[in-house]
Symmetry: C2
Subunit: 161 residues, 2 copies
DNA sequence: TATATTTAGTGGCATATACCACTAAATTGA
DNA sequence: TCAATTTAGTGGTATATGCCACTAAATATA
């Protein structure tokens, strides 16, 4: 029989992407007066928080491919929000930091972010929002990836039931 | 004082994207033998499920921009999985359908998807997974977007507290 | 019915994100 | 110390996704 609907209804990956598109839109609408995309604001905030992190470190924190991070940073560097500073002791490493302009932008945009966040919490409910973030953060952990990779998919030789 | 950490910890939008990257990676690793990306498998499944939907309808179901859907479909059309059929009665409309080859691919790949899904449920727990999907699907609803847009962000004139 | 408005899709451009191949630098080990 | 391996980044290419401007077709309105 046709199990296509089941795939659609139960695929957490698809559900996650769909929700991510929706929420991304909603946040971006609120952030738009700043001229920053949602991702860009997130990135600036992470950079502000993880002072002087290397690209590698930042990529790991963001659960993002290193080269993807490099590409994503380019517009922010071009626009003067971010700069890469070569590390003195390890010449392979580049440290990422906000320019004064970038820091100012991040701080200003935080007011808009607060609005989006308030709307979100009001729309979903504080408890629900909190629980959702916990679940999502759990999935983002390295330990979750390990658990997933180790987990049974029902096809292992000798996997009972 | 510095509230940057708060932004990082509490931003549901960022948490959603991070988790989406992580889970996307994990699912793709499992699906990779099929040659389909995670998004592509989702798309084929949705097309199989929503038989003869127009691009517009499909985009709405996927909470996706119409033109984005058009772009995303291109590789699938090029590879012979999907075709666009002009509607007879409304000549603006194109209906999306799987080719026999595309249907076969979707069905075959469902075995891999089941593995990924099983791993996910085992790693997170069935209850948790179920609750997460419910929350995510709620956010994807049009009604959620409306609630978000209507919701107070604490800056309305006369908004008490 | 003729015009104004809305709707469906397309194509161009920009960002987001991944993989691969490659370079340079650091680290390991014989 | 010198070769083998690992690590950090970069650049190219491909998909994912959004916005805008534009065309064509349908619908609403005067």
């Amino acid at each position: 029989m046709d199990d296509t609907p089941k795939v659609w209804d139960f695929c957490t990956n698809s559900a996650l992407k769909r929700a991510s598109r929706q929420l991304g839109q909603l946040y971006e609408d609120v952030l738009s007066p700043s001229g920053l995309r949602g991702t860009q604001y997130s990135l600036l905030s992470q950079i502000a928080h993880s002072k002087n992190a290397s690209l590698r470190t930042l990529a790991d924190l963001l659960v993002m491919d290193l080269s993807a991070l490099g590409h994503t940073l380019k517009p922010l560097i071009r626009d003067g929000y971010v700069e890469l500073v070569p590390d003195a002791s390890d010449r392979r490493v580049k440290r990422v930091q906000l320019t004064p302009f970038g820091l100012k932008k991040q701080q200003e945009t935080t007011d808009l972010w607060r609005k989006a966040q308030a709307r979100f919490e009001n729309a979903l409910g504080k408890q629900e929002a909190e629980a959702l973030r916990r679940a999502l953060n759990g999935i983002s952990e390295t330990s979750f990836a390990e658990a997933f990779t180790r987990a049974s998919d029902g096809t292992e030789p000798g996997a009972g039931k």
